[in-house]
Symmetry: C2
Subunit: 391 residues, 2 copies
Amino acid sequence: MPPFDRSEYLDRIAATKRRMEAAGIDLLLVSDPCNMNYLTGYDATSYYVHQMVALALDAEEPLWMGRAMDVACARFTTFLKPENMLGYPESYIGVPERHPMAYMAGLLAERGWNRGRVGVEMDAHFFTARCQQELMQGLPNAQFSDATLLVNWVRIVKSPQEIAYLREAGQIVANAMNAAVAMIEPGVRQCDAAAAFYQAAVSGTPAFGGDMPEGPWMPSGARTAAPHLTWTDEPYRAGEATNLELNASRHRYTAALARTVVLGEPPVEMARMIPVVVEGMNAALERARAGVTCEEVEAAWRTIAAAHGVEKASRIGYSIGIGYPGPSWNERTASFQPGNTTILEPNMTFHMILGIWMADWGFEISETLRVTNEGAPEVFSHVPREVFVKI
Amino acid sequence: MPPFDRSEYLDRIAATKRRMEAAGIDLLLVSDPCNMNYLTGYDATSYYVHQMVALALDAEEPLWMGRAMDVACARFTTFLKPENMLGYPESYIGVPERHPMAYMAGLLAERGWNRGRVGVEMDAHFFTARCQQELMQGLPNAQFSDATLLVNWVRIVKSPQEIAYLREAGQIVANAMNAAVAMIEPGVRQCDAAAAFYQAAVSGTPAFGGDMPEGPWMPSGARTAAPHLTWTDEPYRAGEATNLELNASRHRYTAALARTVVLGEPPVEMARMIPVVVEGMNAALERARAGVTCEEVEAAWRTIAAAHGVEKASRIGYSIGIGYPGPSWNERTASFQPGNTTILEPNMTFHMILGIWMADWGFEISETLRVTNEGAPEVFSHVPREVFVKI
C-alpha cells in the first residue's frame, strides 16, 4: 500500500542506521513529518498532534507512535508490522497537564530503549521545547543529543522511484502554472486564479492525480515585493505583475515552479532586470552538475548579476523532496549559497529560485531540477523560462 | 490593510497583557502562526522558517521578527509601525550552526528585554527545542516560563468582525461540500473530487473569495476507518463510503464541515448507527448554550450513544478560529470531552465533530457553531445533517 517497495524503506533505514552509528546514537526519535514519511511511509496530515517514529539500532523496523485514532492511518500507509504501530490514549488530547511525549517515553522504556544515546530532532517543525522536556523527564537514564537533519541528509540523493514521482509532480505543476497564467486577466479575482491553480494541481493529469499542494504564493501588484504572501479576492489590474510560486505533489514528492505574469509592459526597472535574471539562472542551471559545489552554482548566477549591477542577498535554491503543508518541501540540507560546499551528486534534486524582491515590486523564476550523470541537469517542468507579458 | 481595525488589535493586546500580568510575565514570545496573526495581523505562509512576535508589558505595540525578506510580508499585512518589524539576515538561513533565535535574542536585548520573566510557548507548533535552547543562551539573565496557550485563551471569545468572517467561511465550506458531494460517483477519481473541493473553497462566493484551505481529509472505502487520510487517484467505487472533512477560510478564520457520502445503501452496521449519531449530535448542539460546561455538552451526546450501545473514546469538538495549513484551526483550548469544565460563553466558536472510526469503516458529521446569547447555537453552514446516500 505505501508508494515504495518494502525493500526501499529498508534501504533508507539501513542508511539512517549508518549515520546513527557514526553519530553514536542508539535510538533516533523522528518528529519531522517528512522524515516520518521517508522512514515508514506514514502519510496522514495528523501532525498537528504529537507523534513520532522511533528507530533503534537493534530493531529491524521503526516504531510508529501517535494518537490512538491515527494508528489506523499508519495501518493504511506504512509498511510496518502491526506490532510496530502504537497509539497513545485520547486522555492525552486537549489536556495540557498530560503530554503525549510522556506516554511515548513509557512505550520506549517498555522496549528497553530508555538508556544509551537518544537522538532527537531538536530543530524539526513540531518537535517543541515541551516535547524535549517531557522526553528527558520520561527517560532519565538516556543521554540526549541533537540529531536534527540526520534523516534529511539521507534523503538528499533520490532513488529512481522518487525521481519518477518528482517528474510526475513536475508535469502537474507545469499544467497548474499554465492554468493559473491563463486565468490572470484584468478584472478576474485573484482567488479565482488561485482556484484554477488548485483545480489543476490536485486533479493532475489523466494518467495520475495530484496530492495536497503545500499551497501557492501568489501576490499581485505592490505585494510582489513580499515573497510569502498568498492571494486576496481583489481583481487583477492592468499594468500589475503577479508572482506565481506554485507546487504540486505526487505521493508527497513536491515539484515547485515559479513564474511572474505582467498584465502589460513591465516597468522599466523590471524590464531591465529580467534578461539579467534569466541569463544568470541559465548559467547557474548549466553549472549544476555532479562534482560541483553548491556555492559554485550560486557563483555562476552571482557573477552575471554583479556584472549588471544586480545584488541579491538570499540564496538561489535548496534541496527539495518530500513536503507537507507547512510548507516543508525544502529539505533544509544543501543550499545554493556562498559558503555552502556540499558537492552535487547525481539524483540530488533542487528547487532553484531566482526571486527578486524590491521595495514595491518583484518577480520570480524557478525550476525544480535533478543533478544527472550526463552533464546538464534535468528540469522537471517545461514552461518557457521568462516573465509572461499579457497585453 | 489588515482585516481588522487597529483598535481591535489593541484590544487583543490589552487582553493578552492582562493575562501576562496575572502570570507574572514581562515579555511574551509568540511563535504559533495563529497567535502571531491574532496579535499583529501577520499573514504569510512563512512559518517554515523561525519567526516570532514579542510583546512586552511596557510596549504599546508588539515587535515582529522574522527572516529579512519577510519584513515585506509584515509590512503588507500587519498594523505595526515600521520600526516594529525587524529581520534577521540571510546568513541565518540554511546554516545550522547559526540559529535565528540567537539573532532575535540580540534584538530583544537591545530593547532592554533581556531580564525579568519571559514567557515562551513551549508546546506551540514551530517553537522547537532548539528555539528554547538558543533563547535561554541568548538571554541568560531572563527567567523563562511556559506560556503555551496564553494567547489561545484570549482568542476563544470572538468579536463581531471575527464572527462575520467565520460566517462567510461557513458559507464557503457549505458550497465546497456540495461541490464535492456532487462529484462523487462510481468511476470518478478521488483526486477530481478533491480538485472540485479546492476550486469551490478557494473561489468562494461572488461576494467574497476563500483563503488557502488547511486541506481536506477525504478517505474512501476501507480507509474511512482512518481519520486523517487525504485522497488517492483511485476511482470511487459503488457501495463504498467517503468521508469529507472539509474547511474553508476567510482572512484565516476557518469553518470546518464534515459529512459522509455512500455510493449505495450503507452497510447494516453503519445504517444502524447513523440515526444514533445524528440524534446524539442534535442533542449536543441543543446543549451547547452559554453557561453550560464543555463536558455537559459531551454528556448530551454520550447519554444517547450509551443508550444505543455506541461508544466513542475521542472528544466530540474543540474551539475553532484562526488556522494555517498545518493544520491548526483547532485552538487547543476548550474541548467537548469528559473532565473539561470550561463554561461556554456567547461568541465562543466550536467545531463539533462526531467521527465514528471502526476497524474498516467510518463516517463523520460535523458543524462549526457559535455559542449565542439567545439559546441554541448558530451553525455556520447549512447542509442537511445526514449521511448522503447516492444510489
